[in-house]
Symmetry: C2
Subunit: 322 residues, 2 copies
């Protein structure tokens, strides 16, 4: 014990700072958490939140485009359904959540915005491991609109690789609950980069095409569209493409899609709230069709953006400087 | 446009607060992040960190017991291996990480502590979606030691249910990388609660027993031990039990384990850094053996805790008040 005391006297301990000073830089934006609207740089969660430590959370992403929220009700449907399936609850109803979203977008001043709604399991003050004892937390953040495809990729089409990694199967995690379990998707991205592609598609556990990091996929063959219906998030942009196909009198089915069908397609495109309808012109370094963005993709892309000024498909946001 | 302006004038916007005020309560503890040692209440990460938004992170949990870290080198091995597999890097080597851990434990004053090391993907200042552009972040937090089993459960044995949910398979996420993908485990917990059990075991995608929320499982049958070797985290406490079996001249194999073998076992116990070696006396509401904590479990439990004062198995922490 005497030895220990001598060591202790010799040892210099670092300082325990009463407050944390954040050295990081953040994009512009606004967040809502704990009944406060704050700059995005202030939007932080405790490292003890189970939403972080167990990825025990659900979320949704909607977007504002030219000062209008696109189909917010569909996103709210999915978000509230996800919370229900995870046995989470928040002290706000749909109308209140929409109002918070509208306020956060307005305060951000961003006319083109990426809007994320999050519910985490939260934690209990005692750090109990029982999820039933945690206090669920709701938050929203708004940052500038971002896209899976950059302007050049939107113009010439994305280059995609089918990754070795299998998407987490529905028997493990219900894909209809939008979730942060992305290690398979991130591994797929690194696979794709090694194959000189720009993003990845993962297979489902039956060997079919599933989805990519943050997007669904569609093929066009002989004028007919198809998109996977198993082991995928039921994306709102995917749903919007289906709705547009009805308006445009195009045939579209949700069904199993083999890797061969993907590579033999006339056209391929991906869909995400982050970017909308985005063409794919190469899969595994081989051209899709003639390697150019196809006519049906262009037509749907046009219809998609046209709906963003349609009162039936989008909701006006009032900004403080309006 | 005139209408919009009138609406805007009428609408009152909430205040945008320059700083966030945290209303939550936290357990005692200390954290290290961005080169700062801070109280646990200050340990927060940005909601934009991919470690949160994509659960793109690896971690490890070691523990201090009566002021000694137990087998820290084994945890450091796994933590650094996990970062390598996820293509993450931090500006600290093993010796520096261990020093940070020792300092954080010392500054916490906690003699029995739960010590978590985390590396997240981080984010880029532009919020780029490309994981290669993110700046990885390292942090450590120290809170009071916690156990999967409470004192009563440790005494009489846990009641476990085999959940319907399948553990995320290795084809999707490499289980040797300790990760936060827990929605399957949390769903398993809720399944177990409905079945009036206290915690859950999940099956692997081949129908064998995998693991539970934060623990591995062992059975004892006719004096021989076995633990699953597929679709499980290679736990350090699991490894320690294997090492103790060698010392105690007990046979222990890592192999596929069927649900029938589990329910027909003479003894069952689970292992976790959070609690050590913890007996299970009921599975699916049926007694294991005679329903009492078994002799081999007790023997291994005793050996496990005895090693906590052994200099070859544990490392003394020097505290400021020593």
């Amino acid at each position: 014990m005497q030895d220990n005391k001598n060591n202790a006297t010799a040892k210099a301990f670092p300082e325990l700072s009463p407050t944390y000073k954040d050295p990081h830089q953040y994009p512009p934006g606004v967040a809502y958490l704990d009944s406060q609207y704050v700059p995005i740089s202030q939007a932080k969660i405790s490292v003890l939140d189970w939403g972080f430590l167990h990825s025990d959370a659900t979320y949704d992403v909607m977007h504002a485009w030219e000062g209008r929220l696109f189909r917010p009700e569909l996103y709210l449907d999915r978000f509230f359904a996800g919370m229900g399936k995870l046995k989470m609850s928040i002290p706000y109803d749909r109308a209140q959540v929409l109002e918070i979203v509208m306020n956060a977008v307005a305060l951000s001043g961003l006319k083109n915005a990426y809007v994320e709604l999050i519910c985490t399991r939260g934690c209990s003050p005692t750090f109990s491991r029982d999820p039933r004892e945690a206090i669920n937390r709701f938050m929203v953040f708004v940052v500038p609109f971002s896209s899976v495809a950059n302007p050049e990729q939107l113009q010439r089409g994305l280059h995609v690789a089918v990754a070795e990694r299998t998407r987490i199967p529905p028997s493990s995690v219900d894909p209809s609950i939008k979730n942060y379990h992305w290690l398979d998707l991130v591994a797929g991205l690194y696979d794709a980069y090694e194959k000189r592609a720009e993003t990845a598609l993962l297979l489902d556990d039956q060997g079919g095409i599933a989805e990519g990091p943050g997007f669904n996929v569609f093929i066009v063959k002989d004028g007919q569209l198809a998109t996977p219906d198993y082991s995928v998030l039921p994306g709102i942009t995917r749903r919007t493409v289906m709705d547009l196909c009805q308006e445009l009198a195009l045939s579209c089915s949700a069904r199993a899609l083999s890797p061969q069908e993907l590579t033999n397609a006339d056209e391929v495109f991906i869909t995400s709230t982050a970017g909308g309808v985005m063409p794919v012109t190469k899969v595994n370094q081989n051209n899709i069709g003639d390697g150019l963005v196809g006519p049906i993709c262009k037509r749907i892309q046009q219809a998609y953006w046209d709906k963003h000024t349609d009162n039936e498909w989008s909701t006006l946001v009032i900004y403080p400087d309006d």
